[in-house]
Amino acid sequence: MSSTPTLAQLSAEKVREEIIHTFEAGQHAYVHLSLFGIDISITKAVVFLWIGAAVTFLIMFIGSRLLKNRPGAYQVLVEEIYGFGRNSLAGQMGEEGKKFFPYTLTLFIFLLVLNLIGLIPNSYPVTASITFTLTLALLTFIITQYVGIRANGLGGYVKAFVPPGLPLKIIFVPFMFVIEWISELSKPLTLAMRLYANILAGHLLIFIFLSFILYFGTFMAAISVPMALVLYGFEIFVAVLQAYIFAILTQVYIEIALYRTEH
């Protein structure tokens, strides 16, 4: 054995396990529950989902109970978040869209908190789970279709998927209709994949860089640790950015559906 103390060099299989450990741990069920044969166990992922929701609620709730006429720093922060939702997220296409900002703003804060909590070591990045992001994206999709139909009427909304003034109507109208619906259906998919993949990739990259130490030996720390730190910093940026993208795209999709027949 070598006299210099080094971490045990692991096999590729072991390293792989180390890398995906965080995500496997998320599946660990603390309480096994099932509802009509459907597994609704409380896993680590669910716990961190709750923590995220609780933190989101507390940040905003405490802020909303400390309101004074001369705002302190905390109140300014909460009011800025509110103002950001009202004035920056909402109203992309018209005043009518501002009605939906409570939903998108809540979504934004919730995703931001979950993204940031996921960066804490030994936590679980809930947003790096395709189930989670796809559910939210489908929720967005459902709201979008509902709003679109309610605002434009079912016939008007469906008809508006075909742009006016097409040549060779017999061929192009069904063609464009299908194309537009593919595009519409791909919206929730891309929305879900974008958030999921960004957060997952960020975490995996950090773990992979750190796992080099396990695979190649201690000297790799000189490269791996700075790289992991840089990526970690970048991940904070990505956490904010992806939460923002998810929220603003949700808002934009809803507003597009809202004004479907107007363009």
Binding site: I20, F23, E24, A25, G26, Q27, A29, L33, L35, I38, D39, I40, S41, I42, T43, A45, V46, L49, W50, A53, T56, F57, M60, F61, G63, S64, R65, L67, N69, V78, E79, Y82, G83, P102, Y103, T106, I109, F110, V126, S129, I130, T131, F132, L134, T135, L136, L139, L200
Partner: protein
Amino acid sequence: MLDPTGIFDLIKTSLLFWEIITFAILLFLIIRYVYPPIRDQIQKRQAEIEGAIDEAQKTREEARELLAEYRRQIEEARGEGRRILEDARKQADAQRERTKKEAREEGDRIVQRAREEIGRERESAIREVRSEVAGMVIQASEQVLGRTVDHDEHERLVSQALDDLEAEVAGSSAGGRGTA
């Protein structure tokens, strides 16, 4: 569970189930209890700021009016002062003119009076000198002749001689001073 590693966890029912419930509760709580007070607070402050701005504008308007009023008053006062000064100067000028005129008239009067006085004095002096001279001449003549002479006749002669002399003097200094 399609993927035992949990990375591609399509579809985890437990997470899905709890996510929908959690998110619905979170949405409800936040929309119900968090946004309304913040919105009210922001609106309240906005209203207050607008009120303050309106108030400030009104105050400024009032101040401007007040300033204009004061300026006008000052202008008026200044005009008044100028007018008073003008009047006073005019009065003083008039007074001075009057005083000057009076003084000049007074002086003229005094000079006139003095001249008249002088004239009178001279007349009387001449008369006195004449009678003196006539007396002296008569006396001298009496002494020379050794007898009394007709006084009246004498005096007439002397008087005529003096008149001639006077006329001669006046003729030699013609254009000089006039006789009083």
